[in-house]
C-alpha cells in the first residue's frame, strides 16, 4: 500500500477533479441534447434550455415517429448491425486464432499476417472500391455495407494479441486431452476471452452503427440509407423537420428543427447506449487467474 502522504493526497484530489471534469465534458452535451429534444421550439431557439427541458413535451418524438423514412433507415441500420457484427466477429475470431500461433506450429504465419497488415497500409481508393462493389452486384443491398469491411484487420490484431497472452498450458492440456483446434478455440479460448470479445464486439457495433459514408456512396436509393447516412443527408441545422413535411401549424410552433433534430439524435444514440450496460459485465479481468499452477 502506498503511504498517503500530502503530495499523494493532493494528487488524488487533483486527479478526481480532473477526471470528473473530463466525464462531465462527455456527459453534459448528451444531457443538453436530451433536454432540447423535450423542450418547446421557442425555448430551444432562444437558448434557454440547458440540462433540464423547458416546457416539457414529447411532440418532437411524435413527429419523428410519424416520419416513415426514419424507421426505414432504422430498420436498415438494425439489419446491418446484426448481420455485420455477426459476420465480422466470426471472421475475426477464425482469423485471429491461427495467426496467434507461433511460426513453428504455423510456418506461413508471418506471410499471412503481412498480407492482412498490408490492407491497413494501402487501399485502392474511392473509385476502385465503388467499382468493386458495383461489379459484384452488391450495390443497393445491405451486403454492400457489410462484405467490403467484413474482415477488420485492426480487430483481428487486437484479438490475436489477446489470444497470445493466454497461458500456453491451457492449449497444451486441451490438445493432450484430445481436443482439436476447433474445440480448443470454441470451448477453451473463447470463454476466457470474453473481455476482449466484448470490446471488439462493441467496436464493431459502434462502427456499423455510425458509419455513413459507405451508405451514401453504395446505396442508390435514399430509401435504403442506413440511419447514420439518413441523418447526414437531411440538413444539419435549420430545415430538418420542415423537410419532414410539417404542415400542422400547431406542431410547428412546438417542434422546431432543433428540437426535432435533438430527438432524432437521441433516438439514434439510444440503442448503442443500451448495449453498453449489457456488455459491461463482460469487462471483468482475471478470468484466467488460477487456471495454471506453476
Amino acid at each position: 500500500m502506498i503511504k498517503s502522504s500530502l503530495s499523494r493526497r493532493t494528487f488524488l484530489v487533483c486527479n478526481l477533479v480532473f477526471l470528473t471534469g473530463l466525464s462531465l465534458l462527455c456527459v453534459l452535451p448528451i444531457l443538453n441534447v436530451l433536454a432540447v429534444s423535450f423542450s418547446s421550439a421557442g425555448a430551444a431557439a432562444a437558448g434557454e434550455v440547458r440540462f433540464w427541458p423547458v416546457d416539457f413535451n414529447v411532440k418532437a418524438y411524435e413527429v419523428v415517429m410519424k416520419e416513415g423514412k426514419f424507421f426505414g433507415a432504422l430498420g436498415m441500420s438494425a439489419e446491418r448491425l446484426l448481420l455485420g457484427t455477426l459476420i465480422n466477429m466470426v471472421l475475426c475470431v477464425l482469423t485471429a486464432y491461427p495467426l496467434s500461433k507461433d511460426s513453428r506450429r504455423f510456418p506461413l504465419r508471418t506471410a499471412y499476417a503481412w498480407i492482412f497488415v498490408f490492407t491497413i497500409l494501402f487501399n485502392g481508393g474511392l473509385i476502385p472500391w465503388y467499382l468493386a462493389v458495383k461489379q459484384t452486384h452488391l450495390l443497393d443491398t445491405v451486403w454492400a455495407l457489410i462484405l467490403p469491411g467484413a474482415v477488420n484487420v485492426f480487430n483481428i490484431i487486437l484479438m490475436l494479441n489477446f489470444f497470445r497472452g493466454l497461458p500456453k498450458e491451457l492449449e497444451e492440456s486441451s490438445l493432450i486431452d484430445g481436443a482439436g483446434h476447433l474445440k480448443t478455440l470454441f470451448l477453451i479460448f473463447l470463454p476466457i476471452s470474453l473481455p476482449s470479445l466484448a470490446t471488439v464486439t462493441l467496436f464493431t457495433m459502434v462502427g456499423h452503427w455510425n458509419s455513413w459514408f459507405d451508405g451514401l456512396m453504395l446505396m442508390k436509393s435514399p430509401e435504403r440509407y442506413p440511419l447514420a447516412t439518413y441523418l447526414q443527408s437531411i440538413e444539419i441545422d435549420l430545415s430538418t423537420l420542415r423537410q419532414l413535411n410539417l404542415t400542422d401549424p400547431d406542431t410547428a410552433r412546438v417542434v422546431s428543427n432543433r428540437t426535432g433534430r435533438a430527438a432524432q439524435i437521441f433516438m439514434t444514440a439510444l440503442p448503442i447506449l443500451i448495449v453498453y450496460p449489457f456488455l459491461q459485465k463482460y469487462f471483468v479481468s482475471g478470468l484466467v487467474m488460477g487456471s495454471v499452477k506453476e
Partner: protein, 561 residues
C-alpha cells in the same frame, strides 16, 4: 469499360433524341394556375419561340443535387414540394424528382465522381463542376443543347446567359456543341477596393490616395503619426494576410496592389505577341514585390503578416490596429463587424491606385464558372433544361417577375430562389442593376419599384442614413464599394483569358506551382530573399510544368475564340 458503355448509350439514343425534339412542341397553356401562364406566354410569344410550352402529358425529370443548410422553407414546403416545383408542374408540365440529395457539396461531388467513373448514368438533369463537365464531355455522354437553346431560350435568357460576354457559354461549348448551361454570376463584384479609416486620415492630415506614393505616405502616417491619438505607437501600415493572395476578391489581399503596377498574378493575360501568358511571372510583378519589400523594410507592413489569416487580421481591424487594406466589396460585413466596434463606421471604400498615378486602375477577374447543368444523352427531353432556366429567369427578372413570391420573402429571411436546381444569375445584378435602382429610390424616396431583395437593401441603407449604424453599416458601405467599382471598372474590366476546366498538367502540377509562388512572394516581401530571386522563380515555374500549362492554355484559348 467507361468508353464501351457510353458508346452503347450513344448509339441507342441518337434516334430517340430527334424524335423527342419533334414531339415536345409546346402549346396548351390552358387550365394552369391563375394569371401566371398568360404573362409567361405573352413574354414567350413575343419571342416567337415556345419557351413556355407545356409538356402534355407532363414529364418526369430525375435529378440529383446538394441541398445545404442555407436552404430554408416556409411551413409546408420542402425541396420536392414548393412554389417553384408547383410552378414547373403547372406552367411547364415538368415534374422534378430528386433521386438523392446530400447535405454537403463535398458529398455530392464524391458520389457523383464514383457514378461517373463507373459509367452509370447519374440522372436526367444534374449539376457538375468544371472538371466533371470536361470528363463527361470527353466520354460523350451529354446531350447536345445547341439547338434546344436556340429554339427554346427566351430573349431574356439569351441575353442573361451571355451577359458575361459569352464566356460562360463558351466554356460550356465543346467542339461547337453546347453541352451544358453555365450557372452565371457576376464577375465585376470580385474587384478590390481600398478600405481606409477616414477618421485616421483626418487625424494625420491626409486626403484619399491618388497614387501608390500617396498610399505609401498614408501607410507611413498610420504607423508613425499615431492616427488613433492614443499616445502609443500601436498601429500598423498596409494590411496583408498570409498567403499572400495575389488576386482580388478577398480580405487584405494583394490583387488591388498588383493591379496598380499592371501586374495580374494568377490570371492569364495577353503578352505583346498576343499569346496567353501567366500573370504571376511577368516583370510587372517584380516591381510590385520590390515596392512591398521596401515598405516592409521601413516598417509599413505588419512584421507578422505572414502568419495572420483573415480572422487574425480581422482582430487587428476590430482593435483599431490597422486602417488601410485592399479587399472585396463585402469587407464591410467581414472582417469588419460594426456591432463590435462602432468606430469602424469611418472605414470607407476608395478607388484603388496606380504607381503612375493614373485612375481608374484596371483589375483582372477570373470569369470561370463553377457550376454547370448538364443533360444525359439518353434523356428524351434535353430542351427541358432550357425551359427550366428560362422559367427561372423570367420569374425573377422578366416582365412577369414575382420576386417576392419566387425570390426572397419580404424580410429576406427565406430565399425561395434556392429551390430550383437549374439557375443562372445576371452578371449585372448587383452592379449596376441593384445599385442604380436603389440609388434612384433613395434620391426619390420611392421604393415602390424595387423588388424584395432591393427593398431589403433599401431599408438597410435608409436605416444607416437615419443613424441606425449597426443595422445599416455593412450594406450601406458595400453599396459605397459597388459605387466605386462601377465608376472604376464597369467599362474597364480585364478578363483572365482562360476559364475552362483545369488542364491535365494543371491537375498534376498547379498545386505545387502555386505553393512555390506563395513561398517566393512571401520571402521577397519579407526581405528574406533579394528581389532578384523573382527571376529564378520565373525560370523554375517554367521548368516545373509551367511551360506545358501555358501551351495547354493557349490551345484552349485558340479553340474558344
Amino acid at each position: 469499360m467507361n468508353k464501351r458503355k457510353s458508346a452503347l448509350v450513344g448509339l441507342s439514343v441518337l434516334s430517340s433524341l430527334s424524335l423527342a425534339l419533334a414531339a415536345c412542341g409546346g402549346e396548351n397553356n390552358s387550365d394552369n394556375g391563375p394569371e401566371k401562364p398568360s404573362t409567361a406566354a405573352a413574354a414567350s410569344n413575343a419571342a416567337g419561340a415556345d419557351a413556355a410550352g407545356k409538356y402534355d402529358p407532363p414529364i418526369t425529370v430525375h435529378s440529383i443535387r446538394p441541398v445545404d443548410s442555407t436552404v430554408t422553407y416556409d411551413s409546408g414546403e420542402d425541396i420536392s414540394n414548393n412554389r417553384w416545383s408547383e410552378y414547373f408542374k403547372d406552367a411547364l408540365g415538368i415534374d422534378m424528382v430528386y433521386d438523392w440529395t446530400t447535405a454537403k457539396n463535398d458529398d455530392y461531388v464524391n458520389k457523383l465522381n464514383v457514378i461517373i467513373a463507373s459509367g452509370d448514368k447519374p440522372a436526367d438533369i444534374y449539376q457538375v463542376n468544371a472538371s466533371q463537365l470536361q470528363q463527361l464531355a470527353d466520354a460523350g455522354v451529354l446531350a447536345d443543347l445547341t439547338e434546344a437553346f436556340d429554339k427554346y431560350a427566351s430573349p431574356l435568357t439569351k441575353k442573361l446567359m451571355n451577359g458575361d460576354g459569352g464566356k460562360g457559354m463558351s466554356s460550356a461549348t465543346f467542339g461547337g456543341k453546347l453541352l451544358a448551361l453555365p450557372q452565371g454570376s457576376a464577375t465585376i463584384t470580385n474587384n478590390d477596393v481600398l478600405w481606409i479609416r477616414t477618421d485616421w486620415l483626418k487625424n494625420v492630415g491626409l486626403s484619399e490616395p491618388k497614387s501608390i506614393d500617396d498610399l505609401v505616405k498614408i501607410a507611413d502616417a498610420f504607423v508613425n503619426q499615431d492616427p488613433d491619438k492614443n499616445g502609443k505607437k500601436d498601429t500598423l501600415g498596409l494590411g496583408i494576410t498570409q498567403g499572400p493572395s495575389p488576386s482580388n476578391g478577398g480580405v487584405a489581399d494583394l490583387g488591388g496592389w498588383f493591379a496598380g503596377f499592371k501586374a495580374y498574378p494568377d490570371r492569364w493575360v495577353k503578352d505583346a505577341a498576343g499569346q496567353a501568358v501567366f500573370g504571376s511571372i511577368q516583370p510587372e510583378v517584380k516591381q510590385a514585390l520590390a515596392k512591398l519589400q521596401e515598405m516592409y523594410k521601413s516598417g509599413l507592413i505588419d512584421k507578422e503578416w505572414a502568419v495572420k489569416d483573415s480572422d487574425k487580421f480581422g482582430e487587428d481591424v476590430l482593435t483599431n490596429k490597422v486602417g488601410i487594406w485592399y479587399g472585396a466589396n463585402w469587407n464591410s460585413m467581414y472582417p469588419i463587424d460594426i456591432s463590435k466596434n462602432k468606430d469602424l463606421l469611418n472605414v470607407k471604400p476608395f478607388s484603388i491606385v496606380a504607381v503612375d498615378g493614373k485612375q481608374p486602375v484596371m483589375q483582372a477577374v477570373d470569369p470561370s464558372v463553377n457550376t454547370y447543368f448538364v443533360v444525359s444523352k439518353d434523356f428524351k427531353h434535353p430542351e427541358a433544361v432550357v425551359k427550366l432556366m428560362t422559367a427561372f429567369q423570367e420569374k425573377l427578372w422578366g416582365e412577369s417577375s414575382e420576386f417576392e413570391k419566387y425570390g426572397t420573402n419580404a424580410n429576406q429571411s427565406v430565399s425561395y430562389f434556392k429551390y430550383p436546381l437549374v439557375q443562372s444569375w445576371p452578371a449585372t445584378k448587383d452592379i449596376p442593376d441593384n445599385l442604380d435602382a436603389i440609388r434612384a429610390a433613395l434620391s426619390s424616396n420611392d421604393a415602390s419599384k424595387l423588388n424584395s431583395e432591393q427593398k431589403g437593401i433599401y431599408t438597410s441603407i435608409k436605416a444607416f442614413n437615419d443613424g441606425d449604424i449597426v443595422t445599416g453599416y455593412s450594406t450601406a458601405r458595400q453599396y459605397d464599394a459597388f459605387e466605386v467599382i462601377k465608376k472604376d471598372d464597369l467599362n474597364n474590366q480585364l478578363f483572365s483569358l482562360f476559364y475552362g476546366a483545369p488542364t491535365p498538367t494543371m491537375v498534376e502540377k498547379k498545386q505545387a506551382l502555386d505553393k512555390l509562388e506563395q513561398e517566393v512572394f512571401t520571402k521577397i516581401i519579407m526581405g528574406a530573399e533579394p528581389v532578384d530571386e523573382f527571376d529564378k522563380f520565373v525560370s523554375d515555374w517554367k521548368k516545373l510544368g509551367g511551360d506545358q500549362i501555358t501551351q495547354e492554355v493557349n490551345d484552349w484559348v485558340a479553340s474558344h475564340k
